[in-house]
């Protein structure tokens, strides 16, 4: 692989790690809430996939325009668009 490719991947990975770390540090208080403490986690916007049709639409667009797919769910696109 070209060094430019590796550099781009490293930059992407570094950016992702920074985002996750910042995201995590802000909320880090204790690992694992008690059952009666999950009211916030129960909200729709806190579900991992709160809008499946929106997710499926985005995944379908990216599947038809990019080489990588999946990760969040199954990678197959179910269409001949790629």
């Amino acid at each position: 692989m070209k060094s430019a490719d590796m550099s781009a991947i490293r930059r992407g990975a570094l950016f992702a790690a920074a985002c996750v770390a910042a995201n995590s540090l802000w909320a880090c208080a204790a690992i694992g809430p008690k059952p009666w403490e999950k009211d916030v986690l129960a909200r729709r916007e806190m579900q991992v996939n709160p809008y499946p049709l929106q997710t499926a639409t985005d995944e379908h667009i990216y599947f038809s325009k990019e080489a990588a797919s999946g990760g969040r769910g199954f990678a197959g696109g179910g269409c001949g668009c790629n």
């Binding site: 991947i9 985002c19 909320a27 999950k38 986690l41 129960a42 049709l53 769910g73 199954f74 179910g78």
Partner: protein, 475 residues
């Protein structure tokens, strides 16, 4: 029954639905809602959890409007999803989707400083001429020498031209796709959740059928969910004019092979962790095996003169028949109070030499009442497949595999947009989205020859799309 064992059991079940909802995104399964319902009385640890999951139904609908720049692909995609939740965490879902796609799509050839002419099989199944009355979509219908056994009237081709300096695109591209998916899941004994699903879709020249199964188990006071899902997909490609022989010269004549197929197995192992009262983390590992016909039967590769760079001939592309894919996906979602921030990261690699990194960030900001806005940005990068070539050169050895499909080349994709949503009533929500997606790549590679040095060889996408979604919850 686990539901009657207390609130913790209820949470265990619903966390399982949370995880499986992610894993089955492509099936449109919406088990997450059951999780939300189960959490609706979180301060009642001694309550009867069986009452926390009422029987309910949901109807989700959306319509997508997608348009690429320069008159390229335009798509309209309506979708409908029905979900029913039973009293014991059973979930049934049924979804339908339709695609209507038109516009111009790159054919893989490089631009030239001369007019280029391409002739492809006419898009009429079987080569019938009964419905052919005129040219359309910037193409001209022409008569061809009949192949053995073919009547002369049915020997037709579709010819289109590309002006000098422009990217060759086929403006006769149009297709419709119709798909349906179904899924069912429920707790089973000591297993938190077991589910099955299937999907089917059909296009003019493509068919896909798949079946899936998934299982999830909760641990650690229900704060941890481990899940495993497997999906089998079988696809058939039956292109207009038949399946071309790879790396042979582009021809409008009908091919003897009418269809080819491929199969694919994907496995996704996931771990979901409720870190705190407002922080959720998801980690997935995916592995896929795809065997069979991987080519795009309509894509070609230019073979250019080694001095002038002018195209001499066009060959059908050829890709390896086997592909192994794997990815790691990490998602972190935090509710800060005034907003919910979602950050995800994916690293992907496959046996074709493609490596990709994706980072996506969104922040859902609560405004007055139920109104919210959600800006979003996504950064995507991929390296090229090891058989990607912008062009081949006359006189040089023909490689075993070659494709000029820009989707297999190196590029960066950037998406940014905004979502606006609010509750129309207590049981209905509507949202609007607007997104811009642009790919950038190297249009002037160092190995460009002759006139190709003056051409932009990158055929990436510049698109905008909007989406309207509506959901309705009812008993």
């Amino acid at each position: 029954m686990q539901l009657n064992s207390g609130n913790g059991a209820c949470l265990r079940q619903t966390l399982a639905t949370l995880s499986l909802g992610l894993l089955s995104a492509t099936l449109g399964e919406k088990t997450d809602r059951a999780y939300a319902q189960a959490q609706s009385q979180p301060d009642s640890p001694s309550g009867n959890s069986g009452q926390l999951i009422p029987t309910s139904k949901e109807l989700d609908s959306s319509i997508l409007f997608y348009q690429e720049a320069n008159g390229r692909v335009r798509a309209i995609e309506p979708a409908l999803q029905y979900t029913a939740h039973g009293p014991d965490s059973q979930t049934f879902n049924l979804g339908v989707i339709a695609d209507s796609v038109t516009g111009a799509t790159p054919n893989g050839a490089v631009p030239s400083d001369h007019t280029q002419t391409f002739v492809t099989p006419l898009k009429a199944p079987g080569g019938s001429s009964t419905t052919v009355t005129s040219a359309s979509g910037g193409s001209t219908v022409i008569h061809l020498p009949p192949t053995p056994g073919q009547i002369a009237a049915a020997a037709l081709g579709r010819q289109y031209t590309t002006p000098p300096g422009q990217l060759p695109v086929d403006r006769g591209f149009h297709d419709q796709r119709y798909g349906v998916n179904v899924g069912y899941s429920q707790p089973l004994g000591e297993i938190s959740l077991v589910g099955f699903g299937g999907s089917y879709s059909i296009e003019h020249d493509y068919q896909s059928i798949s079946a899936s199964a998934n299982i999830a188990q909760n641990f650690n006071l229900n704060n941890t969910t481990a899940s495993l899902a497997v999906n089998y997909e079988n696809d058939s490609s039956f292109p207009y004019g038949g399946v071309p022989t790879p790396l042979t010269v582009m021809t409008p004549q009908l091919k003897s092979v009418s269809s080819r197929g491929r199969s694919r197995i994907d496995i996704v192992a996931g771990l979901t962790e409720a870190m705190t009262t407002n922080w959720l983390v998801q980690l997935n590992y995916s592995y896929g095996i795809s065997d069979g016909y991987q080519n795009d039967p309509y894509l070609i590769v230019s073979v250019v003169d080694p001095v002038t760079g002018e195209p001499n001939v066009y060959l059908y592309e050829n890709r390896p028949t086997s592909r192994r894919l794997q990815s790691i996906y990490l998602d972190s979602k935090v509710d800060f109070g005034p907003s919910v921030t979602d950050v995800s990261f994916r690293y992907f690699m496959d046996s074709w030499g493609i490596k990709s990194t994706t980072v996506q960030v969104s922040d859902r900001v609560r405004l007055m009442g139920s109104l919210y806005v959600e800006p979003e940005i996504r950064w995507y990068q991929q390296s090229a497949a090891n058989f990607f070539h912008n062009f081949l050169v006359t006189g040089q050895p023909l490689p075993q595999y070659a494709s000029a499909d820009s989707r297999l080349g190196q590029f960066v994709g950037l998406t940014y947009g905004m979502k606006l949503g609010f509750d129309l009533t207590r049981s209905t929500e509507i949202y609007l989205r607007g997104e811009f997606y642009r790919q950038t790549g190297n249009g002037h590679p160092a190995d460009a020859i002759g006139q190709l040095k003056q051409q932009n060889l990158f055929a990436g996408v510049d698109a905008a799309y909007g989406m309207i979604g509506f959901s309705w919850n009812f008993d």
